[in-house]
């Protein structure tokens, strides 16, 4: 099997300001494949919590639009996860 690649996948950081915004994230997680980095499951998402998740290239546009529409502030921690996977090996062999 070919290894999974993460080309142009993004990691978004969202801090929902209230319960309504937390529910926006929970609803998005129901309809999309979000890989929660922190907290480790949708269930834990709550107001004022920093939420980090990985999303595919295909779904990231939709997610970002939905967050914009609902005025949920977010920041893009990683623009291309595959690049970061490569960059983690930044120490050369002796």
């Amino acid at each position: 099997i070919a290894p999974v690649r993460f080309d142009r996948e993004k990691v978004l950081r969202v801090k929902p300001q209230d319960e309504k915004q937390a529910n926006v994230i929970k609803d998005l997680a129901k309809a999309n494949q979000l890989d929660f980095w922190y907290p480790d499951a949708t269930y834990h998402v709550a107001a004022n919590m920093t939420v980090d998740f990985r999303v595919s290239e295909k779904e990231s546009q939709l997610i970002q639009s939905a967050l914009d529409q609902n005025k949920v502030h977010y920041e893009i921690l990683m623009h291309d996860v595959q690049e970061e996977v490569k960059k983690q090996f930044d120490v050369k062999e002796d």
Partner: protein, 308 residues
């Protein structure tokens, strides 16, 4: 030949196995390797025992890599073993610790998942056991311990990343670890598990917001631990009981160890806090391990002095 092992780089499972052999070969009086069981995919689970053969001495059990993608965690366990063996006889504190107590170090808990994260999916978290009536693979080993296992409904779906497994200790990896700890319970005075991606030092409970009976002692150790950790690079850690510091959940190894009677049980969430997440660059392994080593040494000193 698995290639060269390096403490400054992430090492795959083959390199780690070869490294465990080398540690025993180079330090036959101080290090021994114990096979505590096998994984779902029949890989060996190795614990390195550092210290004397005397089983009655106080001991600390440490495990790394319960979640496959948290690569900095196994890197720390390897660093710890290396530093302990290298500095024995040279560093006063480490010499005193190893003269009086033993360390059991499980460098990779979730071996199958770790291998999968190297070969197939860098973002893999669970183990690789098959689930009945589901195409989804794997159990979150840190939800599989027999402590409040049945109390949180959201961990029942095998497709969830936090799937708790069909029963407590259903996973061969969990069972091997719990059996080992139970059989060495008289000597094990502290349990420390290493995760990543939070910069936290946590202690029981996580399944309830109630505080443990020795809360003040644990809180004090954790507070001093993170202060010591911050000295070399000013890394900012948070400490506290897990449920209120992050969020409540069930079946965790720390709560299980504590409920078994190991009253000093801690979970480190190593760096970083989100810039790199699970993809912490290798160039940060050394600094992360160096600072963590200070906190772990402090905890060990405390255990040596204060635990009965």
């Amino acid at each position: 030949f698995p290639g060269r092992h390096s403490y400054a780089k992430y090492n795959n499972w083959d390199k780690i196995v070869a490294w465990t052999e080398k540690m025993v070969r180079k330090n036959p009086k101080m290090v021994s390797r114990i096979k505590i069981g096998t994984t779902a995919e029949n890989n060996p689970l190795y614990v390195l025992k550092i210290g004397e053969k005397d089983e009655r001495r106080k001991a600390i059990f440490m495990d790394c890599g319960i979640h496959a993608r948290e690569w900095i965690s196994p890197a720390f366990c390897q660093w710890f073993v290396h530093q302990a063996t290298k500095t024995y006889g040279k560093n006063k504190i480490m010499t005193k610790l190893l003269d009086r107590m033993n360390f059991y170090v499980l460098p990779v808990f979730n071996v199958d998942g770790y291998i999968w994260s190297w070969t197939q999916n860098r973002m893999w978290k669970k183990n690789r056991s098959k689930n009945q009536n589901s195409n989804c693979v794997g159990t979150d080993l840190n939800r599989n311990f027999n402590v409040s296992w049945n109390s949180f409904p959201y961990t029942k779906d095998p497709c969830e990343e936090t799937y708790r497994g069909p029963a407590p200790e259903s996973e061969k990896e969990t069972k091997a670890v719990t059996d080992f700890i139970r059989s060495h319970l008289k000597s094990i005075k502290a349990y420390i598990t290493f995760h990543s991606y939070s910069q936290m030092l946590l202690f029981p409970y996580v399944y309830t917001s109630e505080l443990p009976p020795n809360y003040e002692d644990l809180a004090k150790i954790a507070k001093v631990g993170i202060n010591v950790l911050s000295i070399p690079y000013e890394t900012n850690y948070t400490s506290g009981p897990t449920a209120s510091t992050i969020y409540p959940t069930s079946g965790s190894s720390v709560d299980w160890a504590y409920s078994l009677g190991i009253k000093h049980a801690f979970a480190f969430g190593l760096g970083d806090k989100g810039k790199f997440g699970f993809l912490l660059p290798e160039s940060q392994i050394k600094s992360t391990c160096k600072e963590t080593m200070l906190a772990v040494t402090f905890i060990a000193k405390h255990i040596l002095k204060h635990s009965s």
